[in-house]
Amino acid sequence: MVFALFIFWPLARTFYLSTHGNDIFGAPSTYVGLDHYTEMLSGEFGEVLATTALFTLVSVLPAIVGALVVVLLLEARLRGVRVLRTAFALPFAFSVATASVVFAVIYNPAIGIANGLLGAVGIDRVDWLTDPSIALPAVGLATVWMNLGYNVLVLSAGVAAIPPEVVEAARLDGATGWRLATGITIPLLSPQLFFLVVVSTIHALQSFGQIHILTKGGPDDATTTLVYSIYERAFAFGSSDFGGASAQAVVLLAIMLICTAVQFGILERRVHYR
């Protein structure tokens, strides 16, 4: 064990830490000071941040609210509840890449089923991924779909951990349906809901695959979020603006830390812990 502790363990840690070094100027040729940061104060980067915020909002909230509704309904002691729960968890089997490709096929403007179904009820074709005002919600919708299964799994586990006596006592007091949900289940689920808000926000800020596959940041940068912008600057089309991209990466890191801190600070107080 001494060997394990002093050889394997530092070795693992070295690997670990070696992957975490953050050299701001990837391949530094000249010292540019804060140029990358002052450049960010121009309007373009503000739009990237706004897009990121909007994307986070439209992909996080519906997925949590939707999963909560589903899980509360599943609590109604139905027959076949296990099958239903598995069915709602199925999207979790999709990776970001496979789900995005399926949505790319569905959203296809000419032969996609989304426009096909709309057309069948007499609605005009929608340019899901090429209309600047629709592309972001469309990618957000695909993301909601990807995350719903995970949220259902987490909330179901939370519901399963609620002591049955508590629910039984409330039922004996005459609480049913809506009152049972708002008075007992949702407050007791608050640790899981809190966890989901934090994790989903962090996850949404890091979203990349669906944007790369569905829109490549377009149309007209309408879906260029912070992480996509980092990718574009550093890696896309032979661009290797590692400096500028790294400056944006530092902003990402800062936003992430602030989000975590704010969420812990504000939400923690309102969360019921058993």
Binding site: A89, A93, I113
Partner: protein
């Protein structure tokens, strides 16, 4: 038998309606995979294949080396999973049972790495890995796994599990002359199997589904992972959705199996933080 209740019928109906958008993309991925070009381009669109068009699956293999992609992903995700499970076990044991200087501070440092988004440090990692020449040929595998050989997440989860380990059992083993190494592998690990399985399932799924890192790292087409391969298939064959969906369906099989049969462990691993 409980008395029939109109409320329950409403619940069934609402759940049924909610299931449609949730299951439709799953259904369509598999139904579309056996649709011929006629079905997919028809108007109004067909929701059910008129005939089973199995040729799509053969065409996928003619378009991209899907088998090779599978192998690459299996090597990448397999190595990462094995390495993270082993390093997490060792680190968690050290944090849970060993006396060492500045343990709390080291552990805090460990947890802090969880807050660092991978995307924020991907550039220096990329530069290092490509400087070392790990983006070409067989070395690509090394480049794919090297940054992911250890994880604070697995260490944290296993440490929590190890801390709940009854100290009487440990004392008994030590009195019987068990050293740390034997104690770990003969007593602690076998009794912590569910937690270890949870870490393994979680790590495997996230490694298998990786997108950003393989996308920028891999230069040689034959070392492409499945996820990137499917996305390239979509770019190359956009005019043939049946073929693309057949590729998606084939690539889904392993994760679908994990979700259907490993749900217990997924929930355990994924909610470890939620339940505290």
């Amino acid at each position: 038998m409980r008395r029939p209740d109109p409320g329950r019928i409403v619940v069934y109906v609402v759940l049924g309606l909610a299931l449609i958008p949730v299951l439709f993309p799953v259904y369509y991925a598999f139904a579309g995979a056996v649709m011929g070009p006629g079905d997919l381009a028809s108007y109004p669109p067909s929701l059910v294949p008129s005939a089973l068009h199995w040729a799509n699956f053969g065409d996928v293999f003619r378009s991209v080396p899907l088998g090779r992609f599978y192998l690459n992903s299996a090597v990448q995700a397999g190595v990462i999973t094995l390495a993270q499970v082993v390093t997490s076990i060792l680190a968690a044991y050290a944090f849970a049972f060993l006396r060492m200087p500045a343990k709390a501070a080291t552990f805090g440092l460990f947890l802090a790495t969880l807050m660092v988004p991978w995307e924020a440090i991907i550039i220096p990692n990329y530069l290092a890995i490509s400087d070392w020449g790990l983006t070409r040929g067989g070395l690509t595998y090394l480049g794919l796994v090297l940054p992911f050989l250890a994880s604070a997440f697995g260490t944290f989860l296993l440490r929590q599990a190890f801390l709940q380990f009854p100290s009487e059992l440990r004392d008994a083993a030590v009195i019987d002359g068990c050293g740390h190494w034997r104690l770990l592998w003969r007593v602690v690990v076998p009794l912590s199997k569910p937690s270890i399985a949870a870490v393994a399932v979680y790590v495997f799924l996230s490694a298998w589904n990786q997108y950003f890192w393989p996308l920028i790292l891999i230069r040689d087409a034959e070392y492409q992972t499945l996820q990137i391969g499917i996305s390239q298939l979509n770019d190359a064959e956009a005019a043939q959705p049946g073929l693309v969906l057949a590729g998606v369906a084939l690539s889904l099989l392993p994760t679908l199996a994990v979700v259907l049969f490993g749900q217990r462990y997924i929930v355990r691993g994924l909610t470890a933080g939620a339940l505290r």
